[in-house]
């Protein structure tokens, strides 16, 4: 599903965020990406979204080589990847429903189908009764779940999350993580960047560890943490 082949990323400031990173994620696999802040976690996720282009090496997601992807096709690639951010990236000038419906609206899904899918996604994250509210009226944990509903509403094959539990207390964090593993159970490939080590250890999934832009553990499918 995802393949990084000796990927390096050097920013124009001269900072090398990633150097020679290689790993693969199997289809339907769930893995964590950990490392100290500044280790290159966000850069790695941005490369998967084609928000950045690698300086060297190849990033292949769902069969397409992102370095060779035409600029005009980038949006279509992003439609296949669901993404969740620590700061939610919600739009506060519209309702919960409209926030979640945004990817479908962009993809041109019919209104009937949109309504059905948005409600299904909101149901999955437990927010079905709150679709008419404005996200600003909801708590941090609920806002994060709106973000997750938006990420999965388009039924993406790959779901990536950047510190999805960053601002949440342990209980809410565990809930969010359980949500992610539910998606894995229905066949979605999930990659979560986090520095919540305790939580990662409880989940008992494969761990990819970055240190100063290099992957120091978990790059081989079998050498990671014990597999569920």
């Amino acid at each position: 599903m995802v393949r990084f082949d000796r990927v390096s990323k050097r920013y124009s400031s001269g900072k090398e965020a990633l150097s020679g990173v290689s790993f693969e994620l199997e289809h339907g696999e769930m893995a964590f990406l950990t490392g100290h802040s500044g280790a290159g976690k966000s850069t790695l996720l941005k490369l998967m979204m084609r928000m950045e282009v690698p300086t060297r090496g190849e990033v292949v997601v769902d069969g397409s080589n992102l370095s060779r992807l035409r600029e005009g096709l980038v949006p279509y690639h992003r439609r296949k990847v669901g993404v969740v951010f620590q700061n939610h990236q919600l739009l506060f000038d519209r309702s919960v429903f409209e926030n979640v419906a945004l990817p479908l609206l962009i993809a041109g899904t019919s209104l009937k189908e949109t309504g059905r899918r948005v409600r299904a996604a909101l149901d999955k994250v437990g927010l079905l009764g709150k679709e008419k509210l404005n996200p600003i009226q909801l708590s941090g944990g609920e806002q994060q779940r709106i973000g997750i509903a938006r990420a999965v509403v388009n039924k993406p094959a790959l779901l990536i999350a950047d510190e999805p539990t960053g601002n949440l207390d342990p209980e809410l964090s565990a809930e969010i993580m359980n949500l992610f593993s539910h998606f894995q159970q229905v066949g979605v490939t999930v990659l979560i960047a986090t520095h919540d080590i305790a939580l990662v250890e409880r989940m008992n999934k494969r761990r990819l560890i970055l240190q100063n832009g290099q992957m120091i553990a978990g790059q081989d499918f079998n050498s990671g943490a014990a597999h569920a």
Binding site: V61, G72, Q89, G108, P156
Partner: protein, 323 residues
């Protein structure tokens, strides 16, 4: 093997049939068109300000155009005639006058000759407002006898000049004045005015593009976050651009309609006074409103200018916003 796994999952979201894609595209256009207009109407004060700026910028060349158009029609009445006035020497005797009249009437290029005696000329002159009192102070009639010579309709300029030279050479003819002269001067002035309309029009068209472009720039800045999120979840540049282009279109189109209403108002206000002036000169003339075709041009070019202005702004500012 990532290539193998792709077909198993997730394809349902991205795959739409060609027909479905087209109808989705069309639906999106329709929705964005309506939404962007609704958005403009939801902030009536600031939208109206932009609309008025555009309308005023269009009314100026529009009014000039209307004026030139009307004057052209006025000159058209005279242009066709080419009538000339032959002033006779003051000491001419009546028999000579009659002979000259017959001689002129027999010329190939003359349709009609009308004799106006000095007395008749004086009477006619008195009918014009304001002059009769001044005339009553004169001891004797200062006006010469006149022959009004009418060449056939559509006579060309060279033939007319030959005719004038011929008449001038006749005995007892003091001078010949071709009424074409002032028509020609008027036409030259009108050509200048037309050029002026074009220059003013181009300048104000640029101004409209800048006004719309700047307004769009501000609304792009206000919606940076939204644009970033849309691009993040797979919105194409065209998708992001669309609402701004429609907004520009509505700015232009409604500004154009307002300009048309303003021109209509000018017409209503000026129609009465113009008719009064025309009546004073005994002319059968009334002020024409902006005709249908130029009205269509006015509104559609305003819409186009709004679209171009927003396009220019979007190209400059939207591309820079990346997630």
């Amino acid at each position: 093997m990532p290539e193998k796994t792709t077909t198993q999952h997730g394809a349902s979201a991205a795959t739409l049939g060609a027909g479905e894609k087209f109808s989705a595209y069309f639906r999106n256009h329709q929705m964005v068109a309506v939404e962007s207009l609704a958005k403009l109407l939801s902030t009536p004060a600031s939208s109206l300000l932009t609309w008025l700026v555009i309308a005023i910028a269009l009314t100026l060349p529009g009014a000039l155009y209307m004026a030139v158009n009307n004057l052209q029609q006025l000159s058209g009445h005279f242009e066709a005639s080419g009538q000339m006035t032959v002033f006779l020497a003051t000491d001419i005797r009546e028999t000579d006058t009659n002979a000259l009249r017959l001689k002129l009437g027999s010329l190939d290029q003359v349709n009609k000759v009308v004799y106006v005696s000095p007395e008749q000329a004086l009477e006619e002159f008195k009918e014009y407002g304001g002059i009769s009192e001044a005339l009553s102070f004169l001891d004797e009639n200062p006006l010469p006898a006149v022959l009004l010579v009418e060449p056939p309709l559509g006579i060309d300029k060279d033939e007319l000049n030959v005719l004038v030279a011929q008449i001038k050479s006749f005995k007892h003819v003091d001078s010949v004045q071709v009424d074409m002269a002032w028509v020609e001067r008027l036409l030259a002035l009108l050509a200048l005015a037309q050029r002026l309309v074009a220059v003013v029009g181009v300048l104000l068209a640029l101004a409209i593009m800048l006004v719309v472009g700047n307004t769009i720039r501000l609304s792009i800045a206000a919606r940076t976050e939204e644009i970033r999120v849309i691009k993040l979840v797979g919105g194409t540049n065209a998708y992001v651009r669309r609402p701004f282009l429609y907004t520009g279109f509505w700015y232009g189109a409604i500004g154009g309609i307002l300009a048309w209403l303003m021109l209509g108002l000018c017409w209503i206000l000026l129609q009465g006074p113009v008719a009064d002036i025309a009546a004073l000169y005994g002319a059968d003339f009334y002020l024409q409103p902006l005709p249908f075709t130029p009205t269509c041009w006015l509104i559609s070019s305003a819409a186009l200018l709004g679209l171009l202005g927003s396009w220019w702004s979007v190209q400059r500012h939207l591309v820079a916003i990346e997630p």
